[in-house]
């Protein structure tokens, strides 16, 4: 997700969130809680869609794609159905290109299946303003005409700026706007956790240049 790209760069060699000094973030969810939340969300997706035959997952890079793969793993474990998983980078669809000093870093997009007529479950780590999801929906429409798009997020932290809501939520976490919710994922960050950084000023966010 774009928000956390800034805070948690995927590239190796950059300072990791876990190594940050200072007061440190507080932990809102640990690996066990995240695992349980994903299992429940997988069940909800199956319940809502009466199985997973028409369902495909598209995760928003970075971290949303990893979460999408985990959800697909859960669904295979529960129902034995293999759900296709794609990764979507929304950078070229952002509404703030040219407003930042540098062009935002681009991740890989890989949707190597037909989305026409399928139900897409869009997966992201944190739902905040809703702008990433708006960009993602615009991007998906360029790939075809899905019969429906549903939204699954690990954390909904509120403060929407667009009329967007999630269909499946791992955990609702009321936050202040100036707080920073970050999701760490084993595949990218070495561990699973949801962390809250309090009152990081607008200009003080990690990774932002």
């Amino acid at each position: 997700m774009a928000d956390d790209d800034d805070a948690l760069p995927r590239a190796a060699g950059r300072p990791s969130l876990m190594a940050s000094s200072g007061p440190g973030p507080s932990r809102l969810m640990d690996a066990t809680e995240i695992g349980r939340a994903l299992t429940r969300v997988a069940h909800e997706i199956l319940e809502r869609n009466k199985g997973a035959e028409r369902v495909v997952f598209v995760g928003i890079a970075a971290r949303g794609d990893d979460l999408a793969r985990r959800l697909a793993g859960e669904i295979e474990r529960i129902e034995g159905t293999r759900v296709p998983v794609g990764a979507l980078d929304i950078t070229f669809y952002r509404d703030d290109i040219g407003m930042r000093a540098e062009a935002p870093e681009v991740h890989e997009t890989r949707i190597d299946f037909d989305i026409n007529g399928r139900t897409i479950v869009l997966v992201d780590d944190v739902l905040f303003t809703g702008r990433t999801i708006r960009s993602a929906m615009d991007a998906l429409i360029d790939f075809g005409r899905p019969s429906a798009i549903q939204l699954a997020v690990l954390v909904d932290r509120g403060h929407r700026q667009l009329p967007i809501r999630a269909d499946f939520v791992g955990k609702n976490l009321p936050t202040r706007v100036d707080e920073d919710v970050r999701v760490a994922i084993r595949e990218v960050d070495g561990e699973d956790a949801v962390l809250l950084d309090e009152a990081l000023g607008v200009g003080a966010r990690g990774g932002e240049t």
Partner: protein, 319 residues
């Protein structure tokens, strides 16, 4: 990234990797049914071509259009330039019209640099005199990396009229920056005397070089150079330095044949050599669009200023 792309010499290896990596994403865009993304909506890109060019101009035009930018093609024939307008006045006019980027090709080396003095937008060099053609070098690097998986340690020969070739200069500088072993091959009259200072090897015997290559990069023979007595005849050039059907067998099995186009079939490259699977000349063209999209995106996708306007952070595309 700098605000302009004038020469490979201004670009460091880290930025080259960034341009190539970003181009990967744009090549994926080029494989979609809808090959267009809204990244540069509302931006204006001007193609200012003082020299004839088909492929480079079309490639830049397609790249800008696939990014949703508005494109103006300003060619010199039939324009105010034909009426005697100077580069400066043309630049000031384009500046007044709000061009965000100017892609310039000019017969004078250094014209793109001069242009930067008069315009606020980004300037991209699409070939200036015998100086540089940086976007060609970047698309060539992309093609090599894509096909061979790396650039460091690649053994590349650039064959032909290096002396008059901006492609050869940009590509040599770029290959050296990326750690490739580069050899310039051609008649002594067509190898620049200062070439060893570029960090490259020089050779005059193509057949001795071919068995050690990963990439054989052929330059176009500019036939007018024969009249200027740089080589005795096109036929002799072809006999000594042309990649013929028999010579191509000297290359290792995996080695690529590349050419910046337009080709003279039967002179620097035999016609059936150009059609071999290892000749990736059309891939170079396809990759050129992705590279130019990557450059336009990286140069125009930021505000260019260190300070962020108020409200961008709090109300970004996040979440």
């Amino acid at each position: 990234m700098n605000r302009h792309l004038l020469s490979i010499q201004d670009v460091d290896a880290e930025d080259i990797v960034r341009v190539l990596d970003t181009a990967e994403s744009f090549r994926e865009v080029g494989s979609r049914v809808i090959k267009k993304v809204p990244a540069l909506r509302g931006r204006t890109v001007v193609n200012l071509f003082y020299e004839d060019s088909t492929r480079t101009r079309i490639s830049f035009e397609l790249a800008a259009k696939r990014l949703s930018a508005d494109v103006i093609n300003f060619s010199t024939s039939g324009s105010s330039v034909a009426k005697g307008e100077s580069l400066k006045d043309t630049a000031l006019t384009l500046q007044a019209m709000g061009a965000d980027a100017i892609v310039i090709r000019h017969s004078s080396s250094g014209a793109p640099l001069t242009l930067t003095r008069w315009v606020n937008g980004s300037v991209l060099n699409a070939g200036d005199g015998t100086h540089e053609h940086p976007t060609q070098a970047l698309l060539d690097l992309y093609t090599m990396r894509d096909r061979l998986g790396r650039l460091e340690g690649l053994r590349v020969a650039i064959v032909g009229d290096v002396l008059h070739s901006r492609v050869a200069r940009s590509l040599s500088f770029a290959l050296v920056k990326m750690g490739a072993e580069t050899t310039l091959v051609g008649p002594p009259t067509l190898i620049p005397p200062d070439a060893p200072a570029w960090g490259v090897e020089v050779g005059h015997d193509l057949e001795a070089v071919l068995p050690k290559l990963d990439v054989c990069y052929l330059l176009r023979v500019q036939k007018e150079r024969q009249r200027q007595r740089y080589f005795p005849s096109v036929r002799e050039y072809s006999r000594l330095f042309g990649l013929t059907r028999s010579r191509v067998g000297l290359l290792p099995e995996e080695a690529l044949v590349m050419h910046p186009g337009p080709m003279n079939r039967g002179i620097e490259i035999d016609s059936d050599v150009a059609d071999l699977p290892r000749a990736v000349i059309e891939e170079q063209v396809t990759n050129g669009i992705a590279i130019r999209m990557s450059l336009l995106y990286l140069l125009l996708g930021g505000s260019g200023s260190a300070a962020e306007p108020a409200g961008v952070r709090a109300g970004t595309a996040d979440g």
